[in-house]
Symmetry: C2
Subunit: 326 residues, 2 copies
């Protein structure tokens, strides 16, 4: 006599729970074998109307919820080992749950991070999806935020600012108006907001080379400030070195968006790391083998200070560094 909740789990989520430790989702808990490794634990929630839009396709919501966690694991140098999912739903609608579970399963397989367990509860309010993801590193090898030293190069993956402008496109803001008929550019940017690209393939290279690392979720300069504060250092970033996508470059060249928005907008989910100068070549080669683009954007400076953003020799004033929920 299964209840609606059990039916829902059996129909949509049990097919995803193929890892032995998931026990087919029929138990109260999952098992993660410790072996000799350290288990890296990260947790990130996405809320309807805050991290994704009410009308976003369920598949992209699922992918984002998992990928923001995979991004954290990659930045810590960890290999994915599984995740648990908490879903607070207003109602159990097949039309939403089926594509959500389908996309979640596809990403879980693609990134080798299988569903281990979860909890499905009802809520009268907006959808909340909370994922706790697990990764493995050899004991003592997780990459923290605290190891950056003066002279280390500051490196980021991919391109910066796409997602913040993608959100503006989805909301019909200035970026949407400026792009006008450039549907492809708009779709690229909104796609970057909806479905980030976790740099899972780069985890091992980060672990082997980075003195400090984190993923960029709230804005490049704000997150760099956190890394610098944790390491007791400062940093000098060159705006000209920032890796920008074609659409962001287009909007910047036309004055629609300034560097401030690009470096303080949220949702990049790229890796920010510091690489000692003598490890940079080796890191670049390792990154090239994975196909993940990396760019050197500046250098760590001695003395704890808020990082500076330089544009043609002048420091840019930034009125905000990143997104904050409160």
């Amino acid at each position: 006599m299964p209840s609606g909740e059990d039916d829902l789990i059996a129909r949509y989520f049990r097919p995803l729970a193929t890892a032995p430790g998931a026990l087919g989702l029929v138990d109260d808990a999952a098992i993660l074998q410790g072996q000799g490794d350290d288990i890296v634990v990260t947790t990130d929630a996405v809320v309807e109307g805050v991290h994704f839009l009410a009308g976003d396709p369920p598949g992209t919501v699922a992918r984002k919820a998992l990928r923001v966690n995979l991004s954290d694991l990659a930045a810590k140098g960890a290999t994915p080992a599984g995740f648990v999912l908490t879903l607070a739903l207003r109602e159990a609608r097949e039309a939403w749950l089926a594509p959500f579970a389908q996309a979640l399963g596809e990403d879980a397989s693609a990134f080798r991070c299988l569903l281990l367990g979860g909890d499905t509860v009802s809520t009268p309010g907006p959808l909340v999806i909370s994922i706790t993801a697990f990764g493995r590193v050899p004991a003592g090898r997780m990459v923290t935020r605290t190891g950056a030293r003066a002279g280390d190069r500051v490196v980021v993956t991919g391109t910066i600012g796409d997602a913040a402008l993608g959100l503006d496109v989805l909301k019909g803001g200035a970026a949407a108006r400026a792009l006008g008929g450039e549907a492809e550019a708009g779709a690229f940017l909104s796609g970057r907001y909806r479905v980030p690209e976790p740099r899972v393939a780069l985890a091992e290279a980060v672990r082997d080379h980075a003195s400090a690392a984190m993923d960029i979720s709230d804005g490049l300069m704000g997150d760099l400030a956190k890394l610098c504060a944790a390491s007791g250092v400062g940093a000098r970033i060159e705006a000209v070195s920032l890796p920008l996508s074609g659409p962001v470059r287009y909007l910047r060249d036309r004055g629609v968006v300034g560097f401030e928005t690009i470096v303080s907008g949220g949702d990049d989910y790229e890796i920010l790391c510091t690489i000692p100068g003598n490890r940079l070549d080796s890191f670049r080669k390792a990154a090239a083998r994975t196909g993940v683009p990396v760019a050197t954007i500046g250098e760590i400076a001695a003395g704890a200070a808020v990082p500076s953003l330089m544009d043609q020799g002048r420091e840019l004033m930034l009125s905000r560094l990143s997104y904050s929920h409160f």
Copy 2:
């Protein structure tokens, strides 16, 4: 230049994160050393208006959010090893956050399950608190739902039905009216709803003796039905053997509540386990040493079937077995 979110974490939650693996909450991830153990992972969310009432004191909300997870770990025979917290808040109010964090910290210390990390996000909707908790067992020793065999005794801890009646008291329902001036009885029941008692002390005895176990969260008979289904067995429960608190007995004797409500109401957070007959004495002795009351309420029967509830030789019809969210 910390943001409001970072301030909030630093002020309220960093003092709780004293485990080395929490890295003072200044990193994106926490470290759980695998050593040789299996890590038992469980996740449970509580939603305002569903699992707790909007007016509930922040301290009891915090305790319940952690304890429902500790209850799962205990039922799996696992020793607590830490937890991560996701908090979806409408606003960051000191008057709510300070007592919430205070109580959470007290319970975390008392049950030796320290905060390892988390995520704090804003929501326009009801408060959602999602906790993923970790426990340790020697490799291969987690107690599952699948090992119950015909002849095993069915055992529960504590008393059953208090929380369901406590919720009725808080809502001013029939139980509240029947108790009338019996303020102490009402306070006992509502306290059992707001702050469950996780049977952490019994974890080792469960691991050493139980053939199957789970915690009772959605109702005794419904949860037993799940355990029986997972084990491919049935069960026969004697209503007369159900452990009832004084207030529940009082309400039952006056006909305010029937067995149906008692055995199908949610939020007990007691351990349900099956003990082979030849292990029962040893289990009882181990339980007595921990001070956790245990009661034998029936026996596992051969053949997969929905468990039956017997009252003076007659089987009681149950129109529902447990609470379901959907």
